[in-house]
């Protein structure tokens, strides 16, 4: 069989696995989604207020802090994996929590990984609103807190896009999932680590099925980002 035929056959088999709701495919997909959604939710709870605090307060070194956050956008996943591994390993400062090679540990790692981009994009979203919204709110009798809430409400689409981008990065990363999760079948194996493993084992069809799911989820996330920004189909 030539390589192109092999890819075509792999695609057909992959679609069959997805349509038949293969238990292994479903289980890995569900776990990936559960871990990425949890990480994103925790990161959103932490990063939206932090982004707001940085945006709404003027302090010495603010520019440097924003630059540092932007630098961390491209934080390598294996570096986060290494740091969290050292923290969670038995001899590490958080070793007693016994979170290494658990879904909980993966959530911690992914939360750390996606937080900088979510903080940075929250700041960018709030900066995009402009001072006129604040002035209008204040002139209409809003308190400082109500004005901040109004600015956040006006920036909600861009802030939602920040959350969705964070989710996309959590779902598609492999370094943290591999190093902190350990790719344990039925426990910490997720889409990305399963694709890496099955490809090295030669089960291309299974890898492709998982790959198609991963790409499909990314597509849906991207469509949602466009939708919340009002650019549906554009």
């Amino acid at each position: 069989m030539n390589p192109l035929d092999e890819i075509a056959a792999g695609l057909v088999r992959a679609v069959e696995l997805i349509l038949a709701l293969d238990p292994a495919v479903v289980e890995i997909t569900a776990r990936s989604l559960a871990i990425a959604i949890t990480s994103t939710a925790i990161a959103a709870i932490l990063t939206v207020p932090i982004g707001g605090l940085i945006h709404f307060h003027n302090f010495r070194g603010k520019r440097a802090v924003v630059n540092l956050i932007q630098t961390l956008y491209s934080l390598p996943t294996v570096t986060v994996g290494l740091v969290v591994f050292l923290l969670l390993s038995r001899s590490g400062p958080l070793g007693d929590l016994r979170l290494l090679f658990t879904p909980g540990g993966m959530v911690i790692g992914q939360t750390i990984l996606i937080s900088p981009i979510m903080i940075g994009l929250t700041i960018a979203a709030l900066s995009g609103v402009g001072t006129q919204v604040r002035d209008t709110a204040i002139s209409l009798g809003a308190s400082r807190f109500q004005a901040i809430f109004t600015i956040m409400a006006d920036a909600r689409a861009a802030m939602m896009a920040a959350v969705l981008l964070g989710f996309g990065r959590a779902l598609s990363e492999v370094g943290v999932a591999m190093m902190i999760g350990g790719n344990i079948r039925g426990y910490t194996r997720v889409l990305t680590t399963a694709i890496a493993l099955e490809t090295s084992r030669g089960d291309i069809e299974f890898s492709m099925a998982l790959g198609i799911i991963l790409i499909s989820i990314s597509l849906v996330v991207n469509l949602l980002i466009n939708r919340v920004q009002g650019n549906w189909w554009s």
Partner: protein, 240 residues
């Protein structure tokens, strides 16, 4: 109602206002006219207590509201401002107009009734569900006016509120301004439209280069200007 005493303002090292003193009384329309860049907007923003003066004092109902945040907040809740370029929140017209009520804790049917009534006043009844950011310039300005009216403020500040509107919409808004004053509200309006100031104002202050160069009745300003500088401005001579 509101009074500026020797108000000064500096922005980016430049002196924008130089010891401006003026007073607007209850039910009066006070127009502040002057060429572009003369400091009208800065003055209106300071009177609306959005910005603080760098010198002098602002008194609202006799109380000094220049710096004390608590006093400024409670005075701000008795006034409303309409900007030259209205900022419409990314929400429905109804949510936009009822904003001032909601931040004051008024909601439900009371807020709904007042919102519809304010929209009727500006000729936009039935626009409640329209999205604020989809409105034309004239509609947006009328929504901004309804949003200012809905809280029944004692003082309304207008910064070139009709500058970007077609003559017909501008006329409707002028009628509304007159109605507000007839209803006992004080109106302070910054405008560079001299004819508009002449038509609407009870008194006019002329501000040139950050200084209030004269204050008087419209006929005094336009027919018997006290200085050559004012005469040149109100007669539209070159140089302005």
């Amino acid at each position: 109602m509101i009074e500026a005493r020797g108000v000064g303002a500096t922005r980016g090292g430049a002196e924008i206002l130089k010891g401006v003193s003026l007073k607007a009384d209850l039910g009066e329309i006070l127009a502040v006219i002057g060429p572009t860049g003369s400091g009208k907007t800065t003055l209106i923003r300071i009177l609306n207590l959005i910005d603080r003066p760098d010198g002098g004092r602002i008194l609202f109902d006799g109380i000094d509201v220049s710096h004390d945040e608590k006093a400024r907040f409670s005075a701000r809740r008795r006034m409303a401002m309409v900007f030259q370029k209205p900022t419409i929140f990314n929400a429905s017209v109804e949510k936009n107009v009822s904003y001032g009520l909601r931040v004051r804790g008024i909601s439900g049917s009371a807020a709904g009734d007042r919102t519809r009534s304010a929209l009727r006043e500006v000729g936009l009844f039935g626009y409640e569900k329209r999205w604020g950011t989809s409105l034309s310039g004239g509609e947006a300005q009328r929504v901004a006016l309804a949003r200012a009216l809905v809280t029944d403020p004692e003082l309304i500040l207008l910064d070139e509120a009709t500058a970007n509107l077609d003559p017909r919409t501008a006329e409707k808004i002028e009628d509304l301004i007159q109605k507000m004053a007839d209803g006992g509200r004080t109106v302070v309006m910054a405008t560079h439209d001299l004819e508009q100031a002449r038509r609407l104002a009870d008194r006019i202050g002329v501000i040139i280069g950050g200084e209030l160069v004269c204050m008087g009745l419209p006929e005094e300003i336009f027919e018997r200007p006290r200085s050559e500088e004012v005469a040149r401005f109100v007669r539209g001579r070159p140089g302005w």
